[in-house]
Symmetry: C2
Subunit: 367 residues, 2 copies
């Protein structure tokens, strides 16, 4: 069943099937999508239907509306405490692509591994660089992660050895789900990109720095001007406040280690999607695209004294050169039992919309 | 419905449900897997069930067995001409990984782009290099392919331009489907790898050489000795003869442009699978892993006069330096309307097992 979060509860949309049928004409004969185990079908229906559905749900959740407020039987059926619910991935994710769209992050990583003068690879400023990832590896918030083992280089000119990662990191990311897909061979133009983006979630891209070294980087405030197919009119950035917290084994409280914002991203979500499909690559409803690590803000380049806008330990500790303090323990990278918690919200004078939590703990490697 | 090829016909396994139930004890209560639209569930059942099923099917397809031979009604229902059937992908492919496991191919490409002395990247000889790909882009043989457009570099130090690929190539590959999967965090050991490999298919990895340049390469006859988790006992290579044919627009016959063999692959399928899961990556039934381009045989390095063992036009024409003749037309890369046909077979004194055809034609780019 599919639900939406409201305060500390969730609203089960499958309980509202007949109400939705009656009150949202766009959902005529379609309201059974909320009884499916994933949102894929709803994602494929397109923006007008998402908007009409959202509008109606906002209406019945407002204080002034009696539909839900005065129907005790329905409220008991449809509203469930988040604590009693078991969360699942919102979609069956066909494919997953992870972009590398934060200029500050790309500059930091490039500076670390290739020096200041070659920080950004030449192609970075011309297109949103992306990597395909495994959709099988995407797990719901709260899933423990076993420390990965693999081949590790003990030093230059020495053969690799096998072992557990010693440089385990998080990456603060957001990701968008694809709404309606496109056919193989037919790119999505930038004018229509927004209609193919269903919504945005928090994502932690766990990264073993010593097993799989990062290998790409990037350029400036959309200077040079992007090629025509990537040129976007109107605002495309989202002001989403992001926070990273960390907790060491057996400790009770999380310590804030970074604050960032999705608006710092150099390449917009729309540009990422357009570039991804420009070669004719077909996107499917429920496919997921990560933004890449989000490091932003005035102090984000070259690890200033204020480390807070940096979206990875790689940057915060400058590849292990400096240590941070977590619950009285020193850390360069993530140790067994450590927990990483990502949160995010948007706000204006009237609203505060939260993105829930993205949390995970590292378990010892598999023997 | 799922079927197997037999001569120029296919045998519809869903027509044999009750026969399979009665005669294959391992399929008790499971024979409905053949009525599903894909083989994913059958793939997940494991080697003993695949073997028992194959053995029974071989028995009823042999000349000496009367089950099918003398049952005209069943034969009419179950045997269908391949020409009348519409082929589909055998599985719902959750994830797709493409390896780069042919030493000859990696050496050729590395020589072309980095020179003879740096042909193989240092890590190539230590592990089977693989890239994640999009499973959405995998299409059944016979599907026309629209020429991709994207950013193309007009030359060093010049900004990229947008346009259709002018260096469109094929890659002769094979690919294996994953049988039973593994849990996230629990690697597949080399001793058990074979039980997780369902079977092998032909694959053409269409490649736009000017949009997405190849960027990785490799080392020798498993020297240095692989790390322990990659060490394999017993024969792991497969002697599968492979042929590439090409046909230009409006011409009738295909011209052979390459012959190779899966046995030349440096890293075995088992090693590819083991390395893929060693970091705890979970594989799912129906996931697909490509071998990477298969260039092999004594003349395969550095494009000798006999180009036939080379699995890509990139190598055959040495990045466009020499031309080949196809139906009287000169070619360096693939032009609109050209068709590529891959075939493969294994044989011994008693058997010849074919892999069918993997065919596709290039259409003009999308405007
Ligand atoms: Ca990332
Ligand atoms: Ca390939
Ligand atoms: Mg990543
Ligand atoms: Mg490939
Ligand atoms: Ni993928």
């Amino acid at each position: 069943m599919t639900s939406i979060a409201i305060g500390d509860q969730i609203l089960d949309l499958s309980s509202l099937t007949s109400l939705l049928e009656e009150n949202v004409p766009e959902l005529k004969n379609l309201s059974n999508v909320f009884s499916e185990p994933t949102l894929n079908k709803f994602m494929s229906l397109g923006r007008p239907i998402w908007q009409a559905t959202r509008q109606y749900l906002q209406q019945i959740l407002s204080e002034n509306d009696s539909t839900l407020r005065d129907n005790i039987e329905l409220k008991q059926r449809a509203l469930i405490s988040q604590k009693l619910a078991r969360m699942h991935l919102p979609a069956n994710i066909g494919d997953f692509t992870d972009f590398y769209a934060s200029k500050e992050h790309a500059t930091n990583v490039g500076t670390m591994f290739r020096g200041k003068d070659n920080a950004l690879m030449p192609n970075w400023s011309h297109l949103p660089v992306g990597y395909h990832g495994r959709s099988s590896s995407i797990v719901v918030s709260g899933t423990d992660i076993v420390r990965p083992s693999g081949q590790i280089s003990p030093g230059k000119d020495q053969p690799p050895i096998f072992g557990a990662s010693k440089k385990l990191d998080f990456e603060l990311e957001m990701a968008f789900f694809v709404g309606p897909g496109n056919n193989l061979g037919e790119p999505i133009p930038i004018e229509k990109a927004i209609d193919h983006i269903f919504g945005v979630v928090l994502m932690n891209d766990w990264s073993a720095r010593d097993i799989q070294e990062p290998f790409l980087v990037e350029g400036p405030k959309q200077d040079p001007t992007p090629l025509k197919y990537l040129q976007d009119t109107g605002p495309s950035a989202y002001d989403i406040h992001l926070e990273v917290k960390m907790k060491s084994n057996h400790c009770k409280s999380h310590v804030t280690i970074a604050n960032s914002n999705l608006k710092y991203m150099y390449w917009s979500l729309k540009q990422q999607l357009v570039h991804h499909s420009v070669n004719g690559c077909n996107m499917r409803s429920g496919d997921l695209c990560g933004t890449g690590t989000i490091s932003g803000g005035p102090d984000a380049i070259n690890g200033g004294p204020n480390k807070s806008p940096l979206g990875s330990l790689l940057e915060i500790t400058w590849n292990g050169k400096t240590k941070i303090d977590i619950n009285g323990n020193k850390r360069t990278f993530i140790e067994d039992g450590d927990e990483i918690l990502l949160t995010g919200y948007c706000t204006n004078e009237n609203y505060l919309i939260g993105f829930g939590e993205c949390i995970g703990k590292i378990l010892p490697t598999y023997k």
